[in-house]
Amino acid sequence: MSKIFAVAGVVFMELYRRKDFYVLFILTALITVVLGAVGDQQAVGYLKEICLLLIWVSSLVIAITTAARQIPAERESRTIFPLLAKPVSRAQVLLGKFAGCWLASGVALLVFYIFFGLVAASREHELHLELYAQAVWLHWQALGIVTALTLLGSLVLSAPAPNITIVFIISVGCLYVSRYLHLVAARMTEPGQTITGVIYYTVPQLWFFDQRALVIHNWPAIAWIWVGLATVYGALYSGFFLFAACLIFRRKALN
């Protein structure tokens, strides 16, 4: 485990020495503050909705762009060579990359939510800590799936740009469209019905992890058992994508 954490530490260090996160945070913060200042009391719901959308978009951008460039950048700058000349397996490198990206996006997420919570609390004069904790946790689990999928994509596609585009489209699809796929399938004829049904049951349903509606309307927090089940669901998908990535990376010749 110490080797995985060592690799993760370097990923983390790289991210906070780059400017991406700061730019995204400042942009999100600025929009939140401006909206908070101009909106009246009844507009708080809209303010929260826009801010949470920004947080989701920003976190996806951070997670996907960070994970997508890990292995290609290592290969391009050839830093992978001295790294793999150490007693570290490719699986450990990959898991370290995943841990680093996931932890870094988790920290970014926490900063975003703390800022959002403070702005929302200043307008509503109340803070639903349990709801926010669940929202952050589930959001982070979704980012775990997306990060693992991006790392897998980075081993299949040689350049980061197409990988980023494809994973972003898949993520948005899994967040907004996948929940309706079974309804679409029911109206289709064969073989479309079966194909769409299979897609519905195989793609990760990222909307399970989206607690925005609850946070916006200050609805009660869900039972923690559901949070636990969603966490297991997320871990299974992340594990599957990482396992596939490890298999591909293990067979890849580096020269």
């Binding site: 110490s2 080797k3 954490f5 060592a6 690799v7 530490g9 370097v10 260090m13 790289e14 020495r17 700058s77 050839r78 830093t79 992978i80 060579f81 001295p82 790294l83 793999l84 000349a85 150490k86 007693p87 570290v88 397996s89 450990q92 010749a253 580096l254 020269n255």
Partner: protein, 261 residues
């Protein structure tokens, strides 16, 4: 029971060994599906030796290094470091590797880089601290230890590379053209360090184009050409046997014909 692949029939004190190593690459050339980069390489390097690995470009030196470091899997045959198959990451526990060019995380400082690599060897934290201090002193980078590597000159980066190759106090050093691109002073320094490692009983396996340098520091050499091992032996024996210096022998083996001016 350990799952580590150990070399069968260990009889010598060879710490680096290849057996009938063959590497084929897929090629896009018309009419050919594979290209043979290495064929039937059988080689051994004994403990305490400085071993020079020579050959022109495309001879198979880099491919051999790539197999030894686990970057490329051999098509057939096997390679062992300390009698452990190179396919096992643990085979690299006691080696240090210095690549030809400086491939390090430019956003890290030399100190951070050494600490990171030290952690990959699972060296205890206190021990890492003392090794980092000692190595940065050895390669004369103490003054720049807190500066990002991207601000280093080429010579400084190469010295940082040498320090990372020594972080685990390796018993075997694999150096890929260690003096390539260095000024005469830098070359001298690297040569001194190799000599010092040899005196400490370390084994050094290095590829080089600098035949004079190889002749000076190596106990034994191997000369490769077109993926095959052409000759191997003690430098003094080869020079005496062929009645020429190492450079002339090298040129003869690679089939160099001087053109009339």
């Amino acid at each position: 029971m350990s799952s580590t692949s150990v070399a069968p029939g260990k009889t010598t004190n060879a710490i680096l060994r290849t057996e009938n190593l063959r590497v084929e690459y897929r090629t896009r050339e018309l009419g050919r599906s594979t290209k043979v980069a290495l064929q039937g390489l059988t080689l051994s390097v004994n403990a305490g030796e400085v071993f020079g690995f020579l050959g022109p470009n495309g001879a198979g030196k880099t491919t051999t290094m790539n197999v030894l470091l686990g970057y490329v899997n051999a098509t057939s045959g096997a390679a062992y470091l300390f009698d452990v198959n190179v396919r096992e990451p643990i085979a690299r526990q006691r080696i240090g590797y210095l690549p030809e060019l400086t491939y390090y995380y430019k956003f890290l400082t030399a100190e951070e880089l050494l600490r990171f690599y030290g952690r990959l060897f699972e060296i205890p934290r206190g021990e890492i601290d003392s090794r980092v201090d000692r190595l940065l002193k050895l390669v004369e980078l103490e003054h720049a230890r807190k500066r990002p590597i991207r601000t280093y000159s080429k010579g400084m980066q190469q010295r940082a590379g040498l320090a990372q190759a020594l972080i685990n106090d390796p018993d075997l050093l694999l150096l890929d053209e260690p003096t390539s691109g260095l000024d005469p002073l830098g070359r001298m320094k690297v040569r001194e360090i190799i000599q010092r490692l040899k005196n400490d009983g370390k084994t050094v396996f290095f590829s080089s184009h600098e035949l004079g340098e190889v002749e000076t520091v190596c106990d034994r050499v191997a000369i490769m050409n077109s993926g095959e091992l052409k000759v191997t032996g003690r430098v003094t024996d080869l020079v005496a046997e062929h009645q020429c210096n190492l450079e002339q022998l090298f040129l003869k083996i690679v089939g160099y014909q001087p053109q009339p001016v």
